[in-house]
């Protein structure tokens, strides 16, 4: 299997590439953390695309149980069917619903399994998956069969740090923290998304964007995905670089700021600072 080097629409830093390749080579799950909007989930999608294998996404919610990733026994429909006298009822296997891990284990090609936002789940969730991730096998009690992975899937786990993960779980994973990209990296990312964007507009937009990120006291700093949305809007509205330049000089609120600042307190703060700045001059 060839090494991952990012794709035509995903820029992976050297460190990230190494982390991914180490995880692939050593068959360990890779835990990805980072500010929201730095492309954690996208990594799994692009990894699957670049390797040409299936992506099995498992999005975690606060009510998700580890067992649901393995299989679920649908006792209620079996009970219902038994009351209706359905023939299906005699085979319990008809009521076992395969989970995402089961799919990943039995897939023909080595798939990419994305366990998205693992921190949203219950505290016990990661602990319940320890053995399954380690040995890559589990037992189905209802049918007395043992599911063993044909090959160990590439597992990407993302976390937004809302809960601390248990140590025992962390020991089994590799870890990478996606740092917020610097200006040159940012340029590369934007180039990938908007190949025809005018250089001048981009320079102005990036300068504005990083100014905004440096502003103290923002509740939610805009991140890469917000920048890309904003650029999309700028292009769609055909805003000229001169307007942006002027905005930056006068420190007034940038056009279409709704894409960047998602919190009315932040917008308010910005307006206040802009007002103070004008007052000084």
């Amino acid at each position: 299997m060839s090494a991952f080097q990012g794709t035509s629409n995903y820029i992976a830093s050297n460190e990230l590439q190494l982390a991914v390749n180490a995880a692939i080579a050593l068959e360990r799950p890779l835990l990805i953390k980072g500010e929201p909007g730095t492309g954690k989930t996208m990594l799994a999608e692009e990894l699957a695309a670049s390797l040409g294998v299936e992506l099995i996404p498992w999005h975690i919610k606060s009510t998700t149980k580890a067992q649901q990733g393995l299989y679920e026994y649908d006792a209620v429909s079996r009970l219902r069917d038994s009351q209706l006298g359905d023939e299906k009822v005699k085979d319990i296997g008809n009521y076992i619903i395969k989970g995402k891990l089961w799919h990943a284990f039995t897939s023909d090609n080595r798939p990419v399994l994305l366990i998205d936002e693992i921190d949203k789940a219950d505290i016990e969730f990661p602990n319940d998956l320890l053995l399954e991730l380690d040995k890559m096998e589990f037992f189905v009690y209802e049918t007395q069969e043992k599911i063993v992975a044909k090959q160990r899937p590439i597992i990407i786990i993302t976390s937004n740090n809302e809960k601390e993960l248990p140590d025992a779980f962390l020991r089994r994973c590799f870890f990478h923290y996606i740092r917020f990209p610097e200006k040159t990296e940012m340029q590369a990312i934007v180039d990938v998304h908007f190949p025809k964007i005018k250089q001048k507009l981009l320079d102005e937009a990036l300068a504005l964007f990083f100014n905004l990120r440096d502003m103290p006291g923002l509740k939610k700093k805009p991140s890469t995905s917000e920048l890309i949305d904003w650029l999309k809007l700028l292009l769609a509205e055909d805003i000229s670089p001169e307007v942006l330049h002027e905005t930056r000089q006068k420190k007034v609120i940038p056009p279409l700021h709704g894409a960047l600042l998602k919190n009315e307190q932040d917008v308010h703060l910005f307006e206040k600072l802009a007002f103070m700045h004008r007052g000084q001059r």
């Binding site: 080579a25 050593l26 009970l79 870890f175």
Partner: protein
């Protein structure tokens, strides 16, 4: 192979185990990286470190191991004295400066430092790159090296480009830093953890049986809604005076807690708790609330969190009439005791730097009054406090 490196990483208190060392060796064996120290840095960090809070410690360990003892000969003459001094003063708070004065002034201190450096150089043959991290130096206590300022890095003969681990980008992610803009969210999460004690949605068995029976034996499933957060919080904020220095961090904590609890009541006090508290700081004179009334209103299962620096004259706590604002019939500690007797769980979060606590008599008294459950207002401290509240 790599055992020394592994030990060094562990020396810097990065939690990692043998399992990770074996993984790292296996990664090298498989040729994930080859002959590049930068790549080795990335891969070893990926494998050994599991939390970005430890990145900074890892960076330091890495720098220590690889540039280490041999590469840097510290020559005292290379460090201009006033450069040091300037750096010093930038780092010191007003209290610290006062304390240094008590120890014979900055010049005296610098002299001692110079001596210490010379000694260190002899003993280590080539000197230690990280002055002041040894733990024996008295200078650490004065906050001189709170972020590991490297004396002499700029003047080093080694004019090599700064390496990634030398940049120490992850310094701010260390769990011991005070709550900042970014960290506000992390604080929230810790609180959420202790807020969600109820279980998720359940099958309402009794109702299901009853409904099924009514339904002539055909199944009729009834579900119960998720149980809600039952934790109730009572907060007391110290306001005004010395707390002005900590206003930002308190605001952040306040907004974090505000969004998190359905049952949240908060009151203000000044310096120490006396017979009155108030809810609106602008009308603190006119709309006082009797503390006894508070005690009678809220049941003992309310979790009480004090936020204050507890920095005042000791008499403000221990003597009747000690209050700086009014005449109090009974001393502050009497009221504190009444409160801690009434409520099961009481903690105190102190925004004051923990290293300075021992120097304030009032902090020690207050700490005793809350049964030693005083924690610094940092992420780590908040975590400990929350544990004590459950």
């Amino acid at each position: 192979m790599l055992i020394d490196f592994f030990c060094k990483v562990r020396d810097y208190k990065v939690p990692c185990t043998l399992r990770e060392l074996l993984d790292l060796i296996r990664a090298l064996e498989q040729g994930v990286v080859f002959a590049s120290i930068d790549d080795f840095y990335s891969v070893s960090r990926t494998i050994l470190v599991k939390d970005e809070a430890h990145f900074d410690k890892f960076d330091r360990a890495f720098a220590d191991y690889f540039t280490g003892v041999a590469s840097l000969e510290l020559d005292l003459s290379e460090i201009p004295e006033d450069w040091l001094k300037k750096h010093f003063e930038k780092q010191l708070s007003a209290e610290e400066k006062a304390k240094i004065k008590a120890l014979g002034g900055l010049d005296k201190l610098m002299e001692t430092l110079a001596e210490r450096l010379k000694e260190q150089e002899k003993r280590h043959q080539g000197g230690n790159k990280w002055i002041g991290t040894g733990g024996t130096s008295p200078f650490g206590a004065y906050g001189y090296n709170p972020e590991g300022i490297r004396i002499g890095q700029d003047e080093s003969r080694h004019r090599r480009a700064t390496k990634v681990w030398d940049k120490r980008e992850f310094k701010n992610l260390d769990a011991n830093v005070e709550i900042g803009t970014r960290n506000l969210k992390v604080a929230l999460r810790k609180l959420r953890q202790f807020a969600r004690t109820g279980s998720s949605e359940e099958l309402a068995l009794d109702e299901t049986i009853a409904a099924t029976a009514r339904n002539a034996g055909y199944l009729d499933i009834k579900m119960k809604p998720e149980r809600h957060n039952a934790i109730k919080v009572l907060m007391f904020f110290d306001i005004g005076g010395s707390m002005d220095d900590h206003i930002k961090v308190c605001e952040q904590l306040f907004s974090a807690i505000h969004g998190e609890f359905k049952h949240l009541e908060f009151f203000y006090f000044h310096n120490c708790l006396y017979e009155n508290v108030w809810r609106d700081n602008n009308r603190r004179r006119s709309e006082k609330i009797d503390l006894l009334q508070v005690l009678n209103t809220y049941s003992r299962d309310y979790k009480v969190i004090f936020v204050g620096d507890a920095t005042m004259g000791p008499y403000e706590i221990t003597y009747p009439g000690g209050s700086v604002e009014h005449w109090n019939e009974e001393a502050g500690n009497v009221w504190m005791k009444r409160l801690t007797d009434h409520f099961d769980k009481v903690i105190w979060l102190n925004p004051q730097n923990e290293a300075q606590w021992p120097y304030y008599a009032s902090i020690n008294i207050m700490k005793g009054l809350v049964d030693n459950k005083m924690y610094p207002l940092t992420l780590a401290g908040l975590g400990q406090g929350i544990k004590a509240l459950i």
